[in-house]
């Protein structure tokens, strides 16, 4: 008999070893009987403790709970839940690189304990306290002498190919991961990469020649004896992949990070006042979580995260996301996650039934949204009317801190410099009227030394 308030996650169908389900708002994983031998090996060999201690594998507890599908169940485990599930097409270059290196390190450790990773999916990695963490406890299986690494191709497609494309062609090519849920095809990667990359040993063997071998044998359908790989060969493979990934580097247009983004028209006094107001609003609303939309390098996101509020800093600029991530790692900021997002085209639901990887909206709602210096970009650069913006924001948050930047502001004037001003409705009065359809205005404060106004709003129906 099916329990009430229980749901198997739509993304959890590929692996016969088990599946994830949510019951009474708690996340569980059913381990199936077919996986018993491998699960017991993971727990008994010491690999689980080792990886959990190194914060590389999600910790879990075995619980005494009625299984979701009893006739195939071996155990039910309750993994530590991740605050926000993110996807590789939302990560910066270094986030994807760190996730790749973590996967290889886990495989190396697994081999030492007599196990191996059967999956090397980027979707199995999430970020916790700034560090990549494997969240699929059922990714391991017992290593049999002579086995090759079954996840080699997946690793190349999920990690190496997008990283090489980002490093050697264009940082925006990580968006290919949004199209190819199984990872970027190696033949496509090989055809896009510059010719000189054939002289790069790691890229040559793991991408170019690998793709050629795939094409050559794609139609052979010959059964292969997969037990011809020595243990040293496996370690050699992992070592070579690690070296190749480590050598991939990216820095935006050779600029220095320190001065990369300094495009604001605030005076020091105005900036300090804005920070003070945000802190006051946070104190009033007391959110448990924040999404900062258009976070830039996370200056305002940190006002929340430094107070222990879990905050996701979204930005459309890969350089901003990269810089924010590097700083979170450097300063061990556990409550801040920086992610790439084009708010005018946010991550959609992809995969089977459009449900395997959920859309941004489906990963909400969040307690509070910051929309700071964002409104004019959405209305003037993207022709979005106020009511559509208010409707969207009301769908993803309860509380809102939003900044109104009037037409007279120099930043808005920049946007209007080469545009016909067709934005007659872009006035503070209409803004307040339209947003009042969805939100109550709790605070309204002009920011000193500027023409801007900051608002604290609460959704009407909360």
């Amino acid at each position: 008999m099916r329990k009430k308030n229980t749901e198997v996650l739509a993304s959890s169908f590929r692996d016969p070893s088990g599946f994830i389900f949510r019951r009474d708002d708690v996340l569980y994983r059913q381990v199936n009987c077919t996986y018993k031998e491998h699960y017991d090996a993971l727990m008994a060999t010491g690999l689980y403790e080792d990886l959990v201690e190194k914060k590389m594998l999600v910790p879990h507890q075995e619980v005494d709970l009625a299984p979701e599908i009893p006739n195939i169940a071996y155990k039910i485990i309750m993994p530590q839940e991740i605050s926000f599930i993110s996807y590789p097409y939302e990560w910066s270059f270094t986030q994807l690189k760190q996730a790749a290196l973590a996967t290889l390190e886990i495989e190396r450790a697994a081999l030492e304990y007599g196990l191996t990773l059967k999956d090397a999916s980027a979707y199995n990695i999430q970020f916790l306290d700034g560090k990549p963490l494997l969240i699929d406890t059922l990714s391991f299986e017992k290593y049999k002498s002579g086995d090759l690494w079954i996840a080699y191709r997946q690793f190349c497609q999920h990690f190496l190919a997008p990283l090489a494309l980002m490093a050697y062609c264009d940082i925006r090519l990580n968006q290919l991961l949004r199209i190819y849920i199984g990872g970027v095809p190696l033949d496509l990667t090989s055809s896009i990469l510059p010719k000189w990359t054939w002289a790069n040993w790691g890229v040559l063997i793991h991408i170019h020649q690998h793709a050629r071998s795939q094409a050559k044998h794609a139609d052979s359908h010959l059964p292969i004896n997969r037990s011809n790989m020595g243990r040293n060969a496996l370690f050699g493979l992992i070592d070579s992949l690690s070296g190749t990934v480590l050598r991939l580097k990216w820095q935006p247009d050779g600029t220095e990070w320190a001065d990369y983004y300094n495009e604001t028209n605030y005076t020091q006094l105005g900036l300090e006042h804005k920070k003070k107001l945000i802190l006051e609003y946070l104190e009033l609303a007391k959110p448990g979580s924040v999404w900062d939309l258009g976070a830039n390098t996370g200056l305002f996101s940190r006002l929340a995260s430094k107070h222990g509020i879990f905050t996701v800093a979204f930005d459309v600029d890969p350089a901003c996301v990269e810089r924010t991530y590097l700083e979170t790692v450097k300063h061990h900021e556990s409550c801040l996650l920086s992610l790439l997002l084009d708010l005018t085209n946010p991550s959609p639901g992809i995969g089977w039934e459009n449900k395997e990887r959920t859309s941004l909206i489906d990963r909400g709602p969040v307690d509070m949204v910051f929309a700071l210096a964002l409104l004019h970009h959405l209305t003037i650069s993207n022709n979005l009317p106020f009511d559509r913006i208010a409707g969207f924001l009301a769908g993803i948050c309860n509380d809102l801190i939003i900044e109104f930047v009037p037409k007279e502001d120099s930043q808005v004037q920049k946007l209007l410099a080469n545009r016909e001003d067709i934005f007659d409705n872009y006035t503070q009065e209409i803004f307040e009227r339209e947003f009042s359809q969805n939100f109550m205005i709790l605070r309204k404060d002009p920011i000193i030394d500027s023409l801007r106004t900051l608002y604290l709003m609460k959704r009407c129906d909360v």
Binding site: L148, R153, I224, R226, G236, L237, D239
Partner: protein, 68 residues
């Protein structure tokens, strides 16, 4: 006319690509992994030996320096 159709059929048969739904990139990946495994495994072994030799040499020098 018949000859023309026959020629076209021949062209179609010769040029037709295998149905992509049945193409398996996994086979080539396995074969490739086994091939490079030999090279990478040997290189890894040599690297390990070299590192061991280097560290033994360093230890030896360290002990010699300590003696003096």
């Amino acid at each position: 006319m018949k000859k023309r159709y026959l020629f076209l059929l021949l062209v179609v048969l010769l040029v037709t690509q295998p149905a992509s739904a049945y193409l398996d990139p996994g086979t080539g990946s396995f074969i490739w992994q086994m091939l490079i495994g030999i090279v990478l495994g040997t290189a890894f072994m040599l690297k390990m030996y070299w590192q061991k030799t280097k560290s033994s040499f360093k230890k030896l020098i360290y002990h010699e320096e300590k003696k003096h």
